[in-house]
């Protein structure tokens, strides 16, 4: 097995027992990036020199007996995370030459945990998109079939992990931007509870929805990453610390959403989901139908709240202190800015933004009721497997509707873990496990049991 194919857990063991060095591990990743990034376009910036320097210091620390959760582990960052001294573009021409003066809190935490940063990954500009095609630096390709989309917006991060260019990568999830690409790439993606991970220093998309998570090869690795990134941050007033009790899977009830069977799910995908359901039962969990009646309004609700906040968050890009002029925004950013400006404007605020905030309350209540009955809920991540590049690019509404199963978690602020459940015509798909706020430990527990039983993560794309 090549070093870059290892999981964090495996690599940490190897580094600790001196089977290999962080420099070797890092070089293996950089090698893989060099070989395949041209085709996959997963990275916007590769920080080879910095990575090797960090790997060297990691090796020194390891020799001196230091033990940190990510010591010597090569990690990629979505290019939405501010990195001091390293270009951060948000996938947009507007920030083509922007070099932040500071590190995001999560970046600081990851560095402090000893990680090696190998580069900044490609994304839909400003995290606007479900396919990765909205990047001003060209679309990222799906490593399982380069004619297909890898899912977005954290497309480069998902692909970099799936193609073993790094051991883990960070992402952001405002409406599914981690879970969707995770499921399209056969990797594990976590969207944590809103407030669990600091947003400070991560370029904001929609402030009340943005959740900061990551991609890993396994559920265990996802837990390691969260132990580093999570926790209250004094620089982000919306963060908090909370713990949830854990109980054995055999005592758990897992909900399946009754309404979802009518929501146009792809046939193959439906079969894979039924298998997953059976597998969980085999593992001892009870599954039962639950109702989330307001889900049918979630996309509409989301596409009011999100663009409204986007329009305000993108107002700072005036080309004065950094970046270039506003005409350099791409079409999707322009659409969302205008949509949000409209829904917040005088005379429309009550009908759109306020109404959406009320519907948001109802969606949140649906989950509250559901979690009184069940410990977690499983749903598909996307109604379809990955689609072809270009297929939805000229139909923004159609693109938006691919978020139908993911946006609810963002509206309710609950965590969601996307785990692989198999392949449809050679392309990976996943399910998401949703739980109440701060129930990440429970999601990991379910995800881990399922993953160990199915071992989908061992399948690798042929590059």
């Amino acid at each position: 097995m090549k070093l870059n194919e290892l999981t964090i857990k495996e690599a940490r063991e190897g580094l600790k027992s001196k089977k290999f060095s962080s420099v070797e591990l890092t070089k293996a990743c950089l090698e893989q990036i060099k070989k395949h990034n041209k085709d996959l376009n997963a990275f916007i910036t590769v920080t080879e020199k910095e990575a090797l320097d960090q790997a060297k210091s990691a090796d020194e620390l390891i020799s001196s007996g230091q033990d940190l959760p990510l010591l010597g582990i090569p990690i990629a960052l979505k290019d939405l995370f501010s990195t001091k001294g390293i270009k951060t573009t948000a996938g947009s021409k507007v920030l083509e030459n922007y070099v932040p003066q500071y590190d995001a809190t999560v970046v600081k935490k990851i560095k402090d945990a000893g990680a090696v940063i190998v580069g900044k990954t490609n994304l839909d500009a400003w995290a606007h998109g479900s396919s990765g095609e909205n990047s001003d630096f060209g679309p990222t390709k799906n490593p399982w079939n380069k004619e297909y989309v890898p899912g977005g917006s954290s497309s480069g991060s998902a692909v970099s992990v799936a193609s073993d260019m790094c051991l883990a990568a960070t992402g952001t999830d405002t409406g599914g931007s981690i879970r969707l690409p995770a499921s399209f790439n056969n990797v594990v993606g976590l969207k944590p509870t809103y407030g669990k991970v600091s947003r400070y220093g991560i370029i904001a998309m929609a402030s009340s929805l943005d959740s900061i998570g990551h991609f890993t090869k396994t559920v265990e690795d996802s837990e390691i990453m969260l132990s580093v990134t999570g926790g209250k941050d004094i620089m982000d007033a919306t963060t908090l610390e909370k713990k949830h009790e854990v109980k054995p899977l055999k005592k758990m009830k897992i909900g399946i959403v009754a309404q979802y069977s009518f929501m146009g799910i792809d046939k193959n995908l439906k079969t894979l989901l039924d298998n997953a359901d059976k597998q969980l039962k085999k593992l001892g969990a009870n599954t039962e139908y639950i109702s989330l009646p307001n889900t049918q309004y979630a996309t509409a609700c989301y596409y009011i709240i999100q663009p409204s906040e986007v329009s305000s968050n993108l107002a700072r890009y005036d080309g004065i202190r950094y970046g270039s002029a506003r005409q350099n925004f791409g079409d999707e950013a322009k659409r969302r800015i205008m949509l949000g400006t409209y829904t917040l404007s005088a005379g429309y605020y009550d009908a759109y933004y306020k109404k959406a905030m009320q519907v948001r309350t109802l969606i949140k209540q649906d989950f509250n009721y559901a979690f009184k009955k069940v410990d977690a809920i499983i749903t598909p991540v996307s109604p379809t497997p990955p689609w072809k590049l270009g297929e939805k690019i000229n139909d923004p509404l159609k693109m938006y509707l691919s978020d139908i199963f993911t946006v609810t978690a963002n509206l309710a602020g609950i965590p969601g873990l996307s785990v692989p459940i198999g392949f449809s015509n050679g392309l990976p798909v996943g399910m998401q496990i949703l739980g109440p706020q701060f129930s990440e430990a429970r999601l990991f527990q379910i995800g881990y049991a399922y993953e160990q039983a199915t071992q989908w993560y061992k399948q690798k794309p042929k590059l």
Partner: protein, 93 residues
């Protein structure tokens, strides 16, 4: 649903080319018609949710900490003058 793209673009400080106007008008109108769906929902007496954490009263102590250096503050601008950011005059008399 008709949307006045020109007015909205002005409000959003977005320069639009004329060919963009028509495209956006169509796309945005479509999206707006879709979100009209929310009208079906009875939200009488329903509170709004603008934040999901339930947090309140998160403040910081009034303590001053070091700032960025002037060079750092100006490091990403294309236009500066004597330690100031510089823009074209915005007020006409």
């Amino acid at each position: 649903m008709k949307i006045d793209v020109v007015h909205v673009a002005k409000l959003a400080n977005l320069p639009l080319k004329s060919e963009e106007k028509e495209k956006f008008e169509k796309q945005l109108s479509e999206i707006l018609s879709y979100v009209e769906k929310l009208k079906e929902v009875n939200t009488e007496n329903v509170e709004i949710t603008s934040q999901v954490t339930g947090l309140e009263n998160v403040t910081r102590k009034d303590e001053a900490k070091p700032s960025l250096s002037q060079d750092d503050a100006l490091s990403n601008t294309k236009s500066q003058h004597n330690g100031f950011f510089k823009v074209k005059a915005i007020l006409t008399e």
